[in-house]
Symmetry: C2
Subunit: 300 residues, 2 copies
Amino acid sequence: MDNAGLLTYLSERRLEVDRLLHSYLPGPKSDPPLLHEAMRYSLFAGGKRIRPILCIASCEAVGGRSVLALPFASAIELIHTYSLVHDDLPAMDDDAYRRGKLTNHKMFGESTAILVGDALLTAAFTMMAEKGLASTISPKKILRVMLELGSASGSTGMVGGQLNDIEAQGKEDLTLEKLKRIHTHKTGVLIRASVRIGGILGGAGPKKRSQLTCFGEKIGLAFQIADDVLDVEGEEKKLGKPVGQDESKGRCTYPALMGVSRAKKEAIVLVEEALTEIKSFGPEADPIRQIALFIIDREK
Amino acid sequence: MDNAGLLTYLSERRLEVDRLLHSYLPGPKSDPPLLHEAMRYSLFAGGKRIRPILCIASCEAVGGRSVLALPFASAIELIHTYSLVHDDLPAMDDDAYRRGKLTNHKMFGESTAILVGDALLTAAFTMMAEKGLASTISPKKILRVMLELGSASGSTGMVGGQLNDIEAQGKEDLTLEKLKRIHTHKTGVLIRASVRIGGILGGAGPKKRSQLTCFGEKIGLAFQIADDVLDVEGEEKKLGKPVGQDESKGRCTYPALMGVSRAKKEAIVLVEEALTEIKSFGPEADPIRQIALFIIDREK
């Protein structure tokens, strides 16, 4: 798969995810219209859909059909979007822009943004239950997937990571070890879960599932490092938000702790290690291999 | 079942729900400790557990064993508690007290309270998936229950009702019809779902399920009216929060629209109608009948 092939793959998968989310969510005029308009505002704000695409590619990497993973991949994007809307709130990271657009609370007000996050999170699990009932995958496996995603995104996973991140902000004594733990929970855990869930849905046995888990963990961390580096080196126009925000807000990042060039090297090593984990996989794993490389080579 | 019998029934069921929630949630020292302490603070703040008890009683009313409904009933309480934590936030209803204690954000700060709500909501679905996998109930039926609960609590249900409620506050032109619609969504929908889900888990056929749905809808509305009346007439000490808050905050309530005595009558008529819906049920429905009467005859 060459670079053009990867871009086609990414945009096709992205389209499938967007189409399903469009058709699943209540229309922008459904009652209450303000809530549904605001939900769609953040959900269709130009996200890269990295997590759902990883989930689908992981399903394919173990020989599963992409259509099996699609509803669950889309549910992961609902969870990711809810977490962004809540993280941007004034009481949290207090961000005004994301992906080149005003954040949800800047556009619709704080109370609406809180409810938008709640509704997106609820929609994620509702969608899995509904699509699961209509799927050829066994209901038992769907419950397992829901348990995986719930554990990854709850108090001991993503939500816990966000709390640790807020508590660490502005602290002087943050070590690299602590930063890794925060990021493993805040960002890594959902990326890891996306890959794992794709594997489960694709019918991976215990060995491949464990290899995918290690793969997912490593690219999850690489993704966050790349994000931090982009905040220092990226172009504002491509990123859709001001650069240098992490530093000005006293956020803990890899470049701040180890310098930009060491952070970049660290990300490359992580992706290499990730690829080694799945080297026994066949050519059907090529998309997920390419996505891993893309993660550290993107401009936004 | 006499009054003492009802009180025993309520306290026994409450204990079962509390015990399961205690054992399911990560301990208060689990990482991050602040988050888990704050989750437990609101979850074990003396809630009446009306929704889970209704769910269990509804399961029993159609001949099911209470233990089947317990995990799902407890998940409903997690959803109810998350909604209270978020509703109390400064950007929403901005309440300082609930059940005689400081609200979550007053105690732990706004960012923690937002994350507490997110974590409780996630825990509800995670718990249903996990307990569902260990249950004798078919995974398919569990997915149906999760779909019911997700639909009831999402953007077209409870969350949508909360948005409509906020939008309606302080408006002069609120009609009784609009108020009913708001309350049907905001409070009624979760109470209705609790009763429906109990029926599904207890193995109710289509007819009994439909009767329980009507029953649940009517007592859900009666419950909200009784709540509004208590805000006017209740005792501050028993309620655990200042009375008269609805009026001072310009909230739309039944007593404000129709007067206290008409509101009380309305609640009584609703409960009578609710009881008529399930009059063909046997003595195993006695607890749920008593709870319906209790709903309009409580002091907090």
